[in-house]
Symmetry: D3
Subunit: 251 residues, 6 copies
């Protein structure tokens, strides 16, 4: 199986983190590739930045889809996920959605641990769009400027542990989701000290991608995830044009 | 007041419809301008097309904001609305959100009349993202291929009237929203024959834009609609870069 | 345009506040009139007092409707709003509903700043009846006896500012609604110091009333906001009787 | 125990129906009294009529409370219920709320059988205000003009049976609520032919009133159902004034 | 009337408490019997223990149903309630459901006072399954080890009073539910000192059981509470087998 | 990896179906074992039968846990899932939950295809308990007596295909869940003819079980999925007693 992770942020250091956590999580025979957004911002925290990342991710998806069996939109908040899922012919997963699915199989209510206060509104709306806000116990976050987006884990580990414990003891979380690509791998390293299961977006997405490939549930040709109907378009990249013009077999 | 309507579709004929309905609805002293997406698809019906339209709209917003007092994202479904609202310094409105606000002041439950079956999932999710799905009585739609996106009203008027009556009689709608820029103005022309208030997105958005300009509630410098924090970015258009780099006065 | 604001409280000082804020907010050509409930309580804080105010407001609406283009029920909590909307032939607006609509166009989640703890339950239920409780970040309130209902703003301005800041910093509000006719105008005077948009019920209602008059969406003759069916009644004021007996043209 | 049923409609024939069903349902030692609204409409179907009925009911509650152990607002839709509950010192019940409570103890989802299409919006909002709309399977209704509000049962019995069966077979109802004072007693007479439990508002309210009297849970002196704070009022009936002026012992 | 209370815990001391509170609450002519689970745990706090208690309760229900007019599952959390309601031919009530119904007739929002932190998740899910979580103001709980499950009231009365006051003052509760069979009777003894109505599960259930017997709404023969269809079974107790094999008259 | 599927029905033919679909779905190195409930009913359709199946499943889980890496409760409706998840030390999955998780990664709204009308209420409540009822487009079901629970697929294949198409075309489903162990494998055989992805509970559960084993998120020692606190118990099977008495390491 070949799985492509698309980092819709422009930070190569985050892509490296993602790639190494993805390879650790994948089955032995799975090949992992990571691509980084050619345009956009260093790390997405807001709706506007997510809008840019969604378009960057879509561009990369159109360009690389043909060589892979599944795509992962590798930013928590899942920018562009639902749209890209409509357009391409292979499974598309997101870090938030994947982490939520793992969490739901481990307990009733989950909390999310995040890297900045600003990012929490976007995360909350992502959980809401997944229809799972009633199971969200809380979102707890770092509240300090980040020196280096590739070094958040080292710089803030003890505060992150504290947030985890508060979510369990004060907010009633049964499971914790360590959110955001910059925290990929943290769940593994602090697991032993936290009294509830810890879920990570990257490893969840890679494993769930393998599952969707294996289950082969079929591509939507009807319903609202069928490919967009063909119609005039202009000004798009060649791969994007090709994607929109692709002929699909009828049901 | 100067209000810019941004058509995130690439169809000039739809921009013309939007512009003429907007001018009819605006106060005498308001100046209306319409711009059309330089890239994207002829008319947005799906999440993927909306993702493209959101980016096209954001690009236009960054380019033109400075000369206007408010922006309207002039496609039902409001592609990019929340993101653009964060980034620019003037009020930003959308056709769906504006129509929903008008409808909520006229009755308890509303139905939406739409131009294609495919578009309904996207509309439903937009209502949901506005937190108003419990007041949505139904979405009813045309279910035939559209000969010409600029001529939907003429081609399908009698079917559209039928859908309106069914929504009132069978679905319990107190108000009807005639959805989508291609139907701009239809509400006015069939109003006399429909037993409940009819709401149109373009005219609602223009009037609500005037209201927000007049009320001058203040620009968010805190909360989740403050401008995105400044950070490294790359590969963006010059106006987009300028927007992200703009210095704002502290509170 | 002629807009009548109906104060369902019996306090003339509050009517004066309402009138002056309404005139400040209205378009130049709009005429504002305010009437005060002839019976009821000095200011409504509870469901029982709202029940009385609803009837007082309905009586005034029946008496004065003919000379106006729109009515505003000028107490936060909107006593009698939905009922009066059914009965009269012109748009009817309420302070809460109008403020909610403004707030929804400025951010995702809003808080309400209120004048007493007792009043908060009624406000919460009003937001709930509008279907918007999932967007309510919090209600924060003064918790001291009010010396004079017409002087709440002067007496408590610094505490009100504090409540505003707490709602943004601790509760995640994107927008603040300054609630209650006795606080009409406060939003304007403290706006510069608060980091998110501030919304006021009176000015929102006046502007939205102008919008509904201009949009002319049509009067409901079907659905659940059609006028009540004619039937025997007794013991009502002459204008109320006339309203219930009025013949309306069929669709 | 002495229980007063307040008919907020002006129809004596409906009061008679209510009284006879209430006496049949009550425990042997309970005394039932019924009073009829001195002003208002013959039967309430709309929000505006409910607003009038709420005030009429409140007036009667203030006048008669002292001689009873519990009050029942005897119109489905419970006009004024929450407000009157705040003001008086004895338990206050409503037909809808009482029927909902009975239904919830008999199955998961219930349907409501109603006497007119117009009345259904008001009923739906009442269920919603009770927080139970997710358990509402459907509202089914007669859709013909009513010859005589006191004779609905005889005139429409076979259609009412049909509606009951449809709610079970097509809508998934586990329990049926026969709604509206004019249908008081119907549940008893058709019970044998309907495959699910049938609940009636009047008998439920009388029995639940006896329960609340017996349980003696205490009168609210705090929270949002404490009596309204004392404050200036004007233009109210003497009993209403006395009620608002009543001194209550502190906690 | 003969009402059987089934204690799905194995503690005889708790059965004694239940029995004495039930007898105090019942009408003079009602006969109360209590049976104790022959297998299971001393007191149920978790979903797994509730699963065991549900089966123990079902076994007792099958064995004893024939001699009674109604059953009460006498553990807060209502283990097995919905299932047993399907199977037997008489009304079945639960402590949580009954307390919720009482509370809903006394105010808008309620808090639950519980005996341990661990038990609160189960209670919350029970309220959720009743569809009433939007009216739940809070769950407050003791957070100390319990010396003796039959002596919780004496050991912790002053802390329990504190929790009650906090729920009113900090959480906005209009009504308090004293939860759990080990607290049966506490509501009565502290009522005078708490400013809102107090509801107890045992007394509510007994009174509501009398009501359902009196109302005689009919046994479900259709809908999802009809008896389970007859089909092969094995390994069940003789009374359980007899219950599943029972022939019921058609509608 | 060793995964145990627990059939809480007593039908060996259904266990055989489950086992063969599970082996087909599992990774090459995974060992699948299936055990059948020693007591209970042939196939669970109701809440009461699910209550019995939950206890039977719990008994089997206690007995067999030690030899496996994950358990699957192999009946749609997930009887006992949350309780067993608390008690044992390995991941526990259910067919419904697993199918829901797969479906949520393939589209926005899903429908469930079920084998009998009676079973649909239980399925609906299971979706509700998972917090996902807003994404449920519909439940469609066979409505004929089942000749043989092990032969439902052969007997009813064409009707099942019809139900699938109706769910897509009339109910707006993006994904279909083929529900119930007796339909295990049907998704695979009809996939080519249905225009949206088809999800099956058994194969989803097996793959998700492998994922949870691989992710190793940690066992809950706090929160509401920690093991039940040790306390007196009686009358339980030896493995169940051992499970409840097991000593766990502190955090």
């Amino acid at each position: 199986m070949r799985i492509l992770l698309i980092n819709p942020n422009t930070s190569q250091s985050v892509s490296d983190l993602i790639g190494s956590e993805a390879r650790r999580a994948a089955s032995a025979s799975t090949q992992i590739e990571v691509v980084t957004a050619p345009f956009g911002v260093a790390y997405i925290e807001t709706r506007f930045e997510a809008l840019i990342g969604a378009y960057a991710g879509a561009t990369l998806a159109a360009e690389h889809e043909a060589r892979h069996d599944a795509l992962v939109i590798a930013a928590f908040g899942d920018p562009g996920l639902a749209g890209i899922r409509e357009a391409v012919d292979i499974p598309v997963l997101g870090l938030t959605e994947s982490a939520l699915m793992s969490a739901c199989m481990l307990g009733s209510r989950f909390s999310i641990i995040a890297i900045s206060r600003r990012i929490t509104a976007w995360y909350r709306e992502t959980v809401q769009a997944n229809g799972l806000v009633d199971r969200l116990a809380s979102i707890r976050c770092l509240n300090q400027p980040l020196r280096d987006i590739g070094a958040v884990q080292e710089d803030h580990e003890s505060r992150l542990r504290e947030l985890c414990l508060q979510a369990v003891e004060q907010d009633g979380a049964d499971v914790l989701i360590i959110a955001g690509a910059p925290l990929a791998g943290l769940a593994r390293s602090i697991r032993a000290d936290i009294p509830v299961p810890l879920v990570d977006g990257v490893s969840s997405a890679v494993r769930h991608a393998e599952t969707l490939i294996a289950l082969a549930p079929g591509r939507a040709r009807g319903g609202s995830y069928a490919p967009p109907p063909r119609k005039p378009n202009q000004g798009l990249s060649a791969p994007m044009q090709a994607l929109l013009a692709r002929e699909r077999p009828p049901v």
